[in-house]
Assembly symmetry: C5
Amino acid sequence: MIIGRVIGTIVSTVKDPKYKGYKLLVVQEMNIDGGYEKNSHISIDLIGAGLDEVVMVVSGAACRSSLETNDKGIDSLITAKIEKIVIGDKQIDL
Amino acid sequence: MIIGRVIGTIVSTVKDPKYKGYKLLVVQEMNIDGGYEKNSHISIDLIGAGLDEVVMVVSGAACRSSLETNDKGIDSLITAKIEKIVIGDKQIDL
Amino acid sequence: MIIGRVIGTIVSTVKDPKYKGYKLLVVQEMNIDGGYEKNSHISIDLIGAGLDEVVMVVSGAACRSSLETNDKGIDSLITAKIEKIVIGDKQIDL
Amino acid sequence: MIIGRVIGTIVSTVKDPKYKGYKLLVVQEMNIDGGYEKNSHISIDLIGAGLDEVVMVVSGAACRSSLETNDKGIDSLITAKIEKIVIGDKQIDL
Amino acid sequence: MIIGRVIGTIVSTVKDPKYKGYKLLVVQEMNIDGGYEKNSHISIDLIGAGLDEVVMVVSGAACRSSLETNDKGIDSLITAKIEKIVIGDKQIDL
């Protein structure tokens, strides 16, 4: 899984009806220094993540791991809010 | 999922018969500044996307998420038109 | 799916017997300018592609989309010959 | 599978309940010189890996290979501790 | 599938018991000039590959393509020895 920050949202009215009721969040990949990678993704939110929050993102077939998300056409899923990242004995500022 | 723009089409007469009836669109990956990445893919269109439209593209096993697309030999699928991308409090020009 | 050109073949006598009867082609990834990427793959050919032809290549789990290819240990499959790539109103020379 | 070193942990209280009871470890990819790649991932630990240990990490659908991990929303899994890496006739310092 | 050379082995005593009886080989990705890419992986060997041999490596879900490898937690599998790579009308030295 990767670490990312929720930086925005997507507005879409013409879409596969399977996405109905899900928020489409833009997540930017973070590295362990607290800096940002260039990569960003659209992820579906399972746990109520809000703007600017640091989250854990699952990719690929693992997104189909529940009845709720199975067969929904999802390849990126927010499954946890990250409160702390501890590298060695240092805590990263989030 | 990633953000891309439909920039072209592919013409193919000799192909796996499972693709029959689907448009094969060339999609170029976009970043959240509205700029373009070098990567482009051929995607199957599920929602009537047209040239120059900004779309959401699903990759990998998640493309098999419906009866229509299951077992069709598809690893990239356009599942939504994107009307707006909002990053923080700024709307990206599309 | 990606665009590639068939640039060569692989000779292998010691191999998983499931590959028996399939050609193992070397495909180099093409970009939409008609130039080449550094990446190349070995792909199984489903549609009779020949040397120098431009093809569409499917990756990952989608390669298991038919009785013929299911459970064959294949992660890259040529499923179409590409006759034309049209980007905007320009046709790319192939 | 890739080689990585366990460099830290993630603290998360708001998360998919399926992760309950699993440690979420931060693993940094290692290359065969013993140096580090920029990439890091969050991995679930199956074998009791500790901080600073060198491990083997499995990615993608292969993480669902046991009753324990099937349908757990996991795309990265630590499945072995690496005691030695031998390249040619040289042993890499770990 | 990709082309690689077997450059070493991994020693691991604490590991998922599913790997028991399999060799864990370090494979370095080769390009079609016969040069090497930076990427290396740990692969399970199905066909008796030895040190310095050039092999074909299958990645991802396709590794689960036999009773032997299904549900073994494997994302990289050596499935063929490569004796010759022919690019156009030139044979690559291996």
